[in-house]
């Protein structure tokens, strides 16, 4: 069987025992972050324990779907290093600093953004792209206010 040309070619986030709540929330177009109940540090990406203090008392905090951030850093990629990116060059890969939790930075592509408009500090907001029938990928677009 060959895959249809329209099939999603890019890598799909692999869920595992530690990160599943993040990606389950993403599939529902929501953001969830892991937080330590002892030292209050957020763990992003999530892990088996809090990497800051080693505590096993970690839980998940829901942030909903209105996620604002600013561009902390970025790269513009003109060459694909993974399948699926060859048709969408250049690719903007950014590190988003969350307005509500500035210590948390989340990587993503900035969609609907011209390279010339891209700059550090630029306001962006999270959006979700349905990539398969049951999976969605958090992404970023320039904030509209």
């Amino acid at each position: 069987m060959t895959q249809a040309k329209t099939a999603y070619q890019k890598p799909i986030p692999l869920k595992d025992i530690d990160n599943a709540p993040y990606w389950d929330a993403a599939d529902k177009h929501q953001l969830a972050l892991q937080k330590c109940d002892d030292c209050n540090a957020y763990s992003q990406p999530p892990g088996p324990t809090c990497a800051k203090c080693g505590s096993e008392n970690v839980s998940w905090e829901q942030f909903g779907d209105d996620i604002k951030a600013t561009v902390y850093s970025y790269v513009v990629s003109y060459r694909p290093f993974l399948p699926g990116f060859q048709d969408e060059l250049p690719t903007i890969i950014a590190l988003a600093q969350l307005d509500k939790v500035p210590e948390v930075k989340i990587m993503g592509n900035i969609l609907n953004c011209e390279e010339k408009d891209l700059e550090i500090g630029m306001p962006i907001q999270m959006t979700w792209v349905d990539i398969t029938e049951d999976r969605a990928l958090p992404q970023w677009i320039p904030a509209t206010n």
Binding site: I12, P13, L14, S77, I93
Partner: protein
């Protein structure tokens, strides 16, 4: 001060041919490099009782190399690693000699980095998602190459410190200029001008092809022994003053805190162990997988203040004749690429004054630094003297 100061030495260095297509296995390249280093030291292969190697699943084993040198060693060690592994394995070798387990250790890196596995082309996506901490938060967004990973650090750092693309160009131009003096450099005969540099499109911002290290087929080897045994070698010993390494990032996940790098932490310990300061350094090998990585380390190791690194390189200080002649054989940007070992070999040759009487010699250099960087989370460095 480190208790091993000046008590161990590098007594032999050597390399194979370097090319885009060796037509040989990494074992052949390793044999060429090892034999060159053994000859350089004036030793017999059987004088070596320990063999160590770092690789990314792309090399022969230390056991194979020893076997085909006709040696039955006491100790072999193969680690997964890239940048900074040279310095870390030298530390391991010193420790084993100090412990009375070994006498003389050969450390090598051998790879068909061009015709075999190419790091710069990225890796298998699913493997990466599982192998990298938090890989699933990075790989689905197309970030699978070290240029993209380090580029994220570079963009922010350049924004904060005023480093420009032209400053990165000065790093490249300085090393390319050195390569023009080194007939064995892969880019010998291919000088670079600022005009050409700036006209070259980026592969992944802020890096174009000149900002990125070469990918070549090549083997390198280094021999370490005690200062006492070094006296019996044919070469002029280069003594290890101090070493330091760090294999973690302050943060659990290195993309969550792109403002710190492991080199920041290594520097202090390194100078303390060696008992010197940045002002004492005459010649440098600074790990240069990408131009910006050099800039960031110049800051970390105290050669220029944060915010002044751009001017430091623009003034020509990395060139022979500058304040800190760096990567004087051309570095990994223009000589060759073995995840740092070729840079370590060059610092040894400079400190031995192997180039005396030519325009390649950093005149009267006495103390040198060699730094390694596998990423923002892994650094290792050593200070050597003649």
């Amino acid at each position: 001060m480190g208790t091993i100061k000046d008590r161990y030495a590098i007594v032999g260095v050597g390399e194979s041919e370097r090319s885009r297509k060796s037509g040989k296995t990494p074992l052949h390249l390793a044999l060429d490099a090892a034999n060159a280093a053994i000859k350089d030291a004036g030793l017999k292969a059987t004088d070596i009782d320990g063999f160590m190697n770092y690789n990314e699943g792309d090399s022969c084993t230390s056991h194979q190399l020893a076997t085909y040198l006709g040696v039955r060693p006491k100790y072999v060690k193969d680690i997964q690693g890239g940048g900074a592994s040279t310095e870390m394995l030298i530390a391991d070798a010193v420790a084993l000699i100090e412990a009375g387990q070994l006498n003389t250790v050969l450390i090598y890196r051998s790879m068909n980095g061009s015709s075999g596995t190419r790091v710069g082309r990225g890796y298998d996506p699913d493997m990466l998602q599982r192998a990298l901490t938090g890989g699933s938060f990075v790989i689905p967004y197309g970030s699978a190459s070290p240029s993209q990973w380090f580029g994220m650090y570079a963009t922010r750092h350049m924004h904060e410190t005023g480093i420009t693309k032209e400053h990165l160009g000065h790093v490249c131009l300085s090393f390319y200029e050195h390569a023009q003096r080194n007939p064995k450099a892969f880019l010998h005969g291919k000088p670079l001008t600022m005009e050409n540099y700036l006209a070259t499109p980026d592969i992944s911002s802020p890096f174009n092809i000149h900002d990125s290290c070469l990918e070549l087929d090549e083997g390198n080897a280094i021999i370490v022994t005690s200062a006492k045994k070094a006296k019996d070698c044919a070469s002029k010993p280069v003594y290890i003053m101090g070493m330091a390494a760090r294999q973690c990032h302050p943060h659990a996940h290195y993309w969550n805190d792109i403002d710190q790098v492991a080199s920041d932490y290594v520097a202090e310990e390194l100078y303390e162990n060696a008992g010197v300061t940045p002002d004492d350094i005459d010649v440098a090998s600074i790990y240069d997988c990408f131009s910006w990585v050099v800039m960031r380390q110049l800051e970390a190791y105290g050669f220029a203040k944060r915010g002044e690194v751009g001017d430091f390189v623009a003034e020509g200080n990395l060139k022979i004749g500058g304040k800190l002649p760096t990567n004087t054989a051309g570095g990994m940007l223009s000589e060759g690429y073995t995840h740092g070992m070729n840079n370590a070999i060059e610092i040894v040759r400079q400190l031995r004054h192997d180039y005396k009487g030519t325009d390649r010699q950093v005149e009267d250099c006495k103390i040198g630094i060699c730094t390694g960087w596998a990423g923002p989370d892994i650094a290792g460095a050593m200070i050597l003297r003649n």
